[in-house]
Amino acid sequence: MISIKGLRKKFGPLTVLDDIDLDIPSGQATGIVGPNGSGKTTAIKALLGLVKPNAGDILIDGESIKGQWDYRKKIGYMPQIARYPENMTVSELFEFIKNIRETGETNKDELISYFGLEPELEKRMRTLSGGNRQKVGAVLAMMFDPEILIFDEPTAGLDPHASVQFKNMVHREKEKGKTVLLTTHIMSEIEELADYLIFIVEGQIRYHGPMKELIEKQQEQRLEGAVAKMMAEVAA
C-alpha cells in the first residue's frame, strides 16, 4: 500500500503538485493520466525520492520514506527518458546495478531472451537504439522481482511487437500480485492494464477510483471518451 499525504511540490513559482492525497492499493495496477505538464512524472519522482517535496509525506507499507533509501529495494522503476551511462555495455550495466542492489537477480536471463536483447548484450549503451534502451530499462525494472513496479510512459519508444510483449509481461507481473503504477497517454493501454485510475490536472487530483466507475459515470463506452469528457469539464 502506498499512501500519499498532503504532498506539495513547487519548482520556483510554479506549483507542480498541489496538496495531493492518494491511496494506491497493493496488488493492483493503477494508471495515472493527465495532460502534459500535469505533474505525473513529478509525483512518481517524489515516490522514488528523486524529487524532494516541499510538504506532505509518502508512506509505503505504513512507513514514511522521508530521508530513507532502503525502501527502494521494493521498487523497480522504468523512466520516461531512459538515459544510461554511455560507455557501459548492456551486460556491464546489469551487473553493476546488481552489485548496487546487493541482491541476486531472479529472472534476468528470462527477461533478456523475452525481449530479444541477447544480440545487444556486449554493445555500448550509446550505440543502442531508443527502443532497445527502453527494453533495457524494462529488464532493469523487473529483474530483481520487486513488489512495486513503476513505469513512466513505458511504451512510448517501443515498436508494436515490443509494445504488445511489454504489456503481456506487465499482465503476468500483475497476476503475480505486484503493485503496478504506470503513466501513459495511450488510453487503450490503461484500459488494458489498469484497474484503478488517477486523473491529475495541474497538480491536483480530479478523479481517483476504479476505472469502470468512471466510464459508467461519464456514460461512455471507452475510457478515451470518458477522459476526454473529463478534460473538457476541467477546461470549462
Binding site: 519548482f11 519522482k45 522514488l48 525520492g49 528523486l50 524529487v51 524532494k52 533509501w69 532502503d70 525502501y71 527502494r72 529495494k73 521498487i75 522503476y77 523512466p79 538515459r83 544510461y84 551511462p85 554511455e86 560507455n87 557501459m88 553493476f96 546495478i97 552489485n99 548496487i100 542492489r101 546487493e102
Partner: protein, 263 residues
Amino acid sequence: MKTLTILKYQWKDLFRGKWIIGYGLIYLLMSDAMIRFAGTGPKAMISIANIMLLLIPLVGVIYGALYLYQSREFTELLLAQPLDRNTLFWGLFGGLALPLAFAFTAGILIPMIYTGMVLSAKFQSLALLVILGNVLTLLFTGLGFWMGLKFFENRIKGLGYALVSWLFLAVIYDGLVLLAVFMLGDYPIEEPMLAMTMLNPIDLARITVLLEFDISALMGYTGAVFNRFFGSVIGIGVATACLGLWLGIPLWSGKRLFNKKDF
C-alpha cells in the same frame, strides 16, 4: 561497499575515456623535461611545483564541474536504486578526485624514479610536493563539484564560474596583493599580507613551497616575517587549518546541495 562498487565503475570509465591517462602523461613529460634541464636537485622540484600550482587547480575545478554534468545519467540511474545519497556523493567525488590525484602522483614520480632522483633528493621536500599536489587536487575538485551542483541546470554558468574562480585565485589575487604592497608599501603591511595569503589556497601552497626550498630570502623582510610565522608551530597549525577549511567547506556545502537537489 556500495561506494567501492561505484568507485570501481568510475575508474574503469575514466581510463576508458583515456583523458586521465593524457593528464598523467602531461606530468610525466613535464617532470622528465625539468629533470633533464635542471638536474636532479631542488631546482627541478621548484619548477615542477610552479607548474603544478597552476595546472592542478585549473584541471580540478573545471573537470570537477564538468564531471557532474557528464555523469548526470549515471546519477539519475543510481538515485532510483536503494542507495543513500551520501554514499553516491562520496562515490562520485572519490571516483574523480582519486584518479586525478593518482595520475598526478604517478606522473611526477615515475621520471624521478628512473633518474634516481627519489633517492638523491631530500625526502622531506619530495613528500611535501606530493602531499601538496594531492591536497590541491582534492580541494579544487571539491570546489568544482560545488560549482557544478550550484549551477546544475546551467552548464555555461557553472563552467564559467569555475574558470573565473581559478583565474581569480591563481592569477588575479596575486596581482591584487602586489598592488596592495605597491600602494601601501610605506606602512607595516606584513601581517595583513600574511592574512591575505592564508585566504588563498594556491598562495598558501606556494608559500609553503618557497619556505621549504628556502628561497623566501628572495622576498626580503616579508619573507622573514613569513618564515618566522610559518616556521612556528602556530603558523603550521593555522596554515593546515586554512587548507582544511578550503577542503571541507565546499565539500560539506556541495553534499548539502546534493542531498536537497531534485533530479
